[in-house]
C-alpha cells in the first residue's frame, strides 16, 4: 500500500511542477497584454463622486458586491457558531 502512495505522491509532484511552470509562463506573458478597460472610465468619471477611486468602485459602482462581502462575513460567523453547536438540528442519526 505504501508503494502505491509513493507512486501517487511522485505523480502529483511531477504534475504540479509541470503546472507551476505553465502558470508561471502564462503570467509572464500576461504582463505584456494588460488592458485597463473599464478602469479608465472609473478614473475619468469617479472624480465627480468621491476623491478616492477605490472607494468609488467599492461603494458606488460595485456596491452590490460589497453587500455580498458583508453577508459572507455574517454567514461565516453564523456557520462557526453552528459548528460549535448553536442551532444544530435535533435528531441524532
Amino acid at each position: 500500500m505504501s508503494s502505491k502512495a509513493t507512486v501517487r505522491n511522485l505523480l502529483a509532484a511531477i504534475l504540479t511542477a509541470l503546472f507551476s511552470v505553465t502558470l508561471a509562463d502564462a503570467v509572464f506573458h500576461i504582463s505584456n497584454i494588460i488592458n485597463p478597460g473599464v478602469s479608465n472610465i472609473y478614473n475619468a468619471l469617479g472624480t465627480q463622486i468621491a476623491p478616492n477611486m477605490v472607494t468609488v468602485v467599492i461603494f458606488d459602482f460595485r456596491a452590490y458586491d460589497t453587500l455580498g462581502e458583508s453577508i459572507i462575513l455574517l454567514t461565516a460567523g453564523l456557520v462557526v457558531l453552528l459548528i460549535f453547536g448553536r442551532g444544530l438540528l435535533g435528531d441524532k442519526r
Binding site: L23, H29, N40, I41, R62, Y64, V79, L82, L89, R93
Partner: protein, 484 residues
C-alpha cells in the same frame, strides 16, 4: 416593473438576516419564514423581463478606445432566469414548509442558510458580472457547508471539512481565471468580455486565454460536482438532512448551468471548449451511475445518480447547437424537480424507520403506499419513461446528438438511462417489495403531511412538463438563440 429584479435576491437575503436576528421568537419566525417562502416563487413570475443596472449606470462609451463598457453590476432577467428562479423558489418553499412542520423549535441559523443559498443561486443566475457571480458562489459554498454541518448526522463535520478544503483549491483557481480575463479585457462584465473576444480585441487563440479557460473550467468542475469532485458532492448530499439535500442538489444544478452559460458565452469560439465539456460529462455519467449501482446507503445512491444526471446537462451544452442546449437546460429543470422528489420521498422513509441501509429495509409498501407510488413515478421519470418529463428532455438530447452526427453519444445516453433504471429498481425492490426483515421496526406513524404535499406538487410539475414540454422549451429555445 424592473424594480422587482433585484428584489428576487434582496427578499431572501433580508429574510435570512431578520430570521437569524429574531430566531428567539419562535412563532413569529415560523410565520415570517412561511410568508417569505411563499413570496419566493411569486416574485419572478410577477416580474417583467429586462435589464437592471445597479446605481443607474447605463453602459458607457470609452472615448479613447471606442469600446462600450458596463461600469456597474448588471442583472439580466429573461425567460430562462424566470423559470429557474421560480422553480428554485418553489423548492425552497416546499423544503422550508417541511422543515417548519417537522421541528417544533426552529433553528435560526439553519433557516438563514436555506434562504441565503436561495438568494445566492438567484444572484448567480441573474448576474451579468463574472466577479459578482464568484462572490455569490462563495456565499453558496459556505451555505452548503453550513447546511451539512448543521445536520448532526455522524461524520457530517468531516465531510464538510473535506468539501471546504477541496473548495478552497477550486475557487481560488476560478478567481485566478477571472483575474486572467480581467487582465486581458479590463472588465468583469460578461457582455463586455464576450464582445471583446468576438470583436478580436482579445486574441482567442493565445495560450493565456486558454489558460483562463482551464482555470475557470476547474472551478466549474468543483461547482457542479463533475469528476473528480463527484465523490465529495454525493458525500455532501448524503450527510445533509434529506430535505436539505433536495435543496442542495438544486443549488448544484443551478450553479452548474449559470457558470457553464457564462463560459459558453465567452469561450464558444474555441473548439476545445466543447470537447472538454463532452469529455467530463461522459465521465460523470459513467462514474456516477456505475458507483450508484454499488451503494447500499440510499442517500449516497441518489447522490451519485444526481451526479450522473448532471452529465446529461453537460452533454446538451457541449454539443453546442441550439436544439441541444435547449435540451440540456430543459434536462436541468427536470433534474431539479425529479431529484428533489426522490430526496424528499426517501427522506420520508428515513423519517419513518430511522434507517438508511437498503439491506435492512423491506416490505414498506404495506406501510407507506402513497410514498412508494410517488417515488416509483419519480424514479421512472428519472430513468426517462414516457410520458414523464425526464423522457422528453432525454429524447431531445438523443435527437440532438443524432443530428450533430454523434450516434455513439445517443447510444451511451440510452445505456446510462437503462443503468439508472436498474439502480432505481434495485433500490425500490429492496426497500418496498422485499419481505420485511424481522428486526426492522417501522414506527406506525403517518408520513408528515407536508412531505406528501411537497411530493404531490413536484409530481404535478413532472407530469405537466412531460405532457406539455413546449411550455418551457419554446422559451428556453428563444433564450438560447439569443446567446448563440
Amino acid at each position: 416593473m424592473n424594480e422587482l429584479i433585484p428584489l428576487m435576491v434582496i427578499v431572501p437575503l433580508m429574510a435570512a438576516l431578520l430570521i437569524s436576528a429574531f430566531s428567539r421568537f419562535n412563532t413569529v419566525t415560523k410565520i415570517f419564514a412561511f410568508v417569505v417562502a411563499i413570496c419566493l416563487p411569486i416574485i419572478p413570475i410577477a416580474s417583467n423581463y429586462g435589464l437592471h443596472y445597479f446605481g443607474g449606470y447605463e453602459p458607457m462609451l470609452d472615448n479613447v478606445t471606442n469600446v462600450m463598457f458596463h461600469p456597474a453590476i448588471t442583472y439580466s432577467f429573461t425567460f430562462l432566469q424566470q423559470i429557474f428562479i421560480a422553480m428554485v423558489g418553489l423548492l425552497t418553499f416546499l423544503v422550508i414548509f417541511i422543515y417548519l412542520t417537522k421541528y417544533k423549535e426552529v433553528s435560526g441559523p439553519y433557516l438563514f442558510l436555506l434562504f441565503l443559498g436561495t438568494a445566492a443561486v438567484t444572484a448567480m443566475l441573474l448576474t451579468d458580472d463574472i466577479f459578482h457571480m464568484f462572490v455569490f458562489f462563495e456565499i453558496l459554498a459556505l451555505a452548503q457547508v453550513g447546511i451539512v454541518a448543521a445536520s448532526s448526522i455522524s461524520y457530517s463535520n468531516e465531510m464538510a471539512l473535506k468539501y471546504m478544503i477541496l473548495g478552497s483549491i477550486g475557487s481560488p483557481m476560478m478567481l485566478l481565471g477571472i483575474g486572467f480575463l480581467l487582465a486581458m479585457t479590463g472588465s468583469v462584465n460578461i457582455t463586455d468580455i464576450a464582445a471583446a473576444v468576438h470583436n478580436g480585441l482579445v486574441d482567442a487563440t493565445s495560450p493565456v486565454f486558454l489558460m483562463s479557460l482551464a482555470l475557470i473550467f476547474f472551478g466549474w468542475l468543483y461547482a457542479s460536482g463533475l469528476p473528480p469532485f463527484h465523490t465529495i458532492k454525493s458525500g455532501i448530499y448524503s450527510k445533509a438532512e434529506p430535505h436539505g439535500a433536495a435543496l442542495l442538489q438544486s443549488f448544484t444544478v443551478i450553479s452548474m448551468i449559470s457558470i457553464v452559460l457564462v463560459m459558453f458565452r465567452i469561450y464558444s469560439t474555441l473548439p476545445i471548449f466543447e470537447v472538454l465539456i463532452v469529455f467530463f460529462s461522459i465521465l460523470a455519467m459513467i462514474l456516477g451511475v456505475s458507483l450508484a449501482l454499488t451503494q447500499t446507503d440510499f442517500r449516497r445512491m441518489i447522490g451519485f445518480l444526481a451526479v450522473g444526471e448532471l452529465g446529461f446537462i453537460g452533454l446538451g451544452i457541449g454539443l453546442g447547437t441550439q436544439y441541444s442546449i435547449t435540451a440540456g437546460l430543459f434536462q436541468a429543470l427536470n433534474e431539479i424537480t425529479i431529484t428533489a422528489l426522490l430526496f424528499i420521498g426517501f427522506g420520508a422513509i428515513v423519517n419513518a424507520t430511522n434507517e438508511v441501509d437498503t439491506r435492512k429495509l423491506g416490505g414498506l409498501l404495506a406501510y407507506h403506499p402513497k410514498v412508494s407510488i410517488m417515488l416509483l413515478i419519480g424514479g421512472l421519470a428519472m430513468a426517462g419513461v414516457p410520458p414523464l418529463s425526464g423522457f422528453q428532455s432525454k429524447l431531445m438530447l438523443v435527437q440532438a446528438s443524432l443530428s450533430c452526427g454523434y450516434p455513439e453519444i445517443s447510444i451511451l445516453a440510452i445505456v446510462v438511462s437503462i443503468a439508472t433504471f436498474v439502480v432505481f429498481v434495485k433500490t425500490y425492490y429492496s426497500m418496498f417489495l422485499k419481505p420485511k426483515p424481522n428486526d426492522l421496526d417501522v414506527e406506525h406513524k403517518e408520513v408528515p403531511r407536508a412531505m406528501i404535499f411537497a411530493m404531490g406538487i413536484l409530481l404535478i410539475i413532472v407530469i405537466a412538463f412531460g405532457v406539455y414540454p413546449d411550455v418551457v422549451t419554446n422559451g428556453i429555445s428563444n433564450f438560447v438563440g439569443g446567446i448563440l
